[in-house]
């Protein structure tokens, strides 16, 4: 296979990833990274680097829209980045050390396990529009971590206050770690912390998570780029395809109101996770 064919196939992989990623809410990298490793034999850290570049491309596009529409809570997002960024720096460094210690296979198995762990979380995810009311903690009061947005569906303004910032910061560090280590957006973990611990409404959680994913991705990508693990001939077509697929997904998303139909896409992620584990175990 020559380089032009390879680039086109990587673009198509990105389109599939962007589509599945936007329909499941997991992001395109969960498809792109396993396919690059299993189908094309791309080394793990290079695939992780490509995954982070796809995250930067797609999150900047969607993040810009959420910010423009005042749906992302900039204050809460930037406060939590103090946890996700160190997590991503540690994660990306850890991946490089483990690869240099010839432990790429262990990383592959860990990636597969993480992907398999994410899927049930998406299935069981609470889709409650508004969280139960709760009181802001001292840190949230001191930093003014509260906001308001107009909910078109509910036809009224919705006010919210951040509640438990300490556990949220802990989960955010973990989300950054996973993102930096495995090149995925880890938006599921971020949304979990925003909804479960901070008590933010669903729409604000999704938009704020998207706003933060770019900065978390930039932390991991910066290390991998400087260390020579981002190959533009692989990362660029993956990012272009993923951005296209995500756009396609956003166009057909309103048509797929039935949650079950959307969940049908999750087995794709599950199958890829199993293939990655088998590759890590040397069985594929």
């Amino acid at each position: 296979m020559d380089l032009v064919e390879f680039a086109l196939l990587v673009v198509l992989t990105g389109v599939l990833g962007g589509l599945v990623g936007s329909l499941t809410g997991l992001g395109g990298a969960v498809v792109v990274i396993p396919v690059l490793v299993v189908a094309f034999g791309v080394p793990f850290p290079i695939a992780v680097g490509a995954g982070l570049i796809t995250i930067l491309a797609t999150s900047s596009a969607s993040g810009a829209s959420f910010v423009r529409d005042h749906l992302s809570d900039l204050r809460i997002g930037m406060f939590l980045e103090i946890a996700t960024v160190p997590g991503a720096l540690v994660g990306a460094s850890l991946t490089i050390f483990l690869v240099q210690a010839n432990l790429s296979d262990a990383l592959l198995i860990a990636l597969g396990v993480i992907l398999l762990a994410i899927v049930p979380g998406v299935v069981a995810r609470r889709r409650q529009e508004l969280p139960p009311p709760g009181a802001a903690d001292d840190r949230a009061r001191a930093l003014g971590l509260a906001g308001e947005y107009h909910d078109e569906a509910l036809g009224r303004d919705v006010r919210y206050e951040a509640q438990r910032t300490r556990p949220a910061l802990g989960v955010m560090f973990g989300a950054g770690l996973v993102s930096g280590m495995f090149g995925i957006g880890a938006g599921v973990f971020k949304v979990f912390a925003l909804e479960r611990y901070l008590g933010l409404p669903m729409k604000v959680s999704t938009a704020t998570s998207n706003f933060m994913i770019g900065v978390t991705g930039a932390a991991g990508a910066g290390i991998l780029l400087a260390a020579g693990y981002i190959n533009p001939v692989i990362a660029a077509p993956a990012a272009l395809g993923t951005a296209g697929g995500a756009y396609l997904g956003s166009q057909i998303l309103p048509e797929l109101r039935n949650r079950t139909v959307r969940l049908l896409f999750l087995p794709i992620v599950g199958i890829l996770a199993i293939e990655v584990i088998l590759r890590g175990l040397g069985l594929l």
Partner: protein, 141 residues
């Protein structure tokens, strides 16, 4: 006695919204950064494929064409010499720099609004991002 910075428990937390211009500017930074970086990457990729398209893909899987351009001197020389790989590196750098610029604009708004703690947090995030790109990455390599 409770200060205006920390209203007492039970009372609603006052909403300290950033000015509309913050939303507009951050959205613009993200759009412009993405547009510029993708334009450079697409043009660079097409040019690279025109030059190397018939080579086997296994070469690109096992080697990285931008390694010589990952330092300032190499990048500047590559750009001045019109090397496609240097432009691809520039596109990647622009993509990574876009969220960093977004953090910088956040710092500007918190600092000019007199919010010292939030300004310090965003400044620390920016320093950490630059540390990863300029110190940690080359070091672990």
């Amino acid at each position: 006695m409770s200060s205006p910075e920390a209203p007492g428990p039970g009372r609603p937390v006052p909403i300290r919204a950033l000015p509309d211009s913050a939303y507009v500017r951050m959205s613009l930074v993200l759009r412009l950064g993405l547009g510029v970086s993708l334009a450079i990457l697409i043009a660079g990729l097409i040019a690279y494929l025109i030059q190397h398209g018939t080579e086997s893909y296994s070469v690109i899987v096992s080697s990285n064409p931008i390694l010589s351009y990952l330092n300032l001197r190499g990048l500047a020389a590559g750009l001045a010499g019109g090397h496609i790989e240097a432009y691809l590196t520039l596109g990647l750098l622009a993509l990574v720099a876009t969220p960093i610029l977004r953090v910088l604009s956040g710092f500007y708004y918190f600092h000019s609004g007199g919010e010292r703690v939030m300004a310090a947090i965003t400044f620390a995030v920016m320093i950490l991002l630059l540390l990863g790109l300029l110190v940690l990455g080359p070091w672990v390599h």
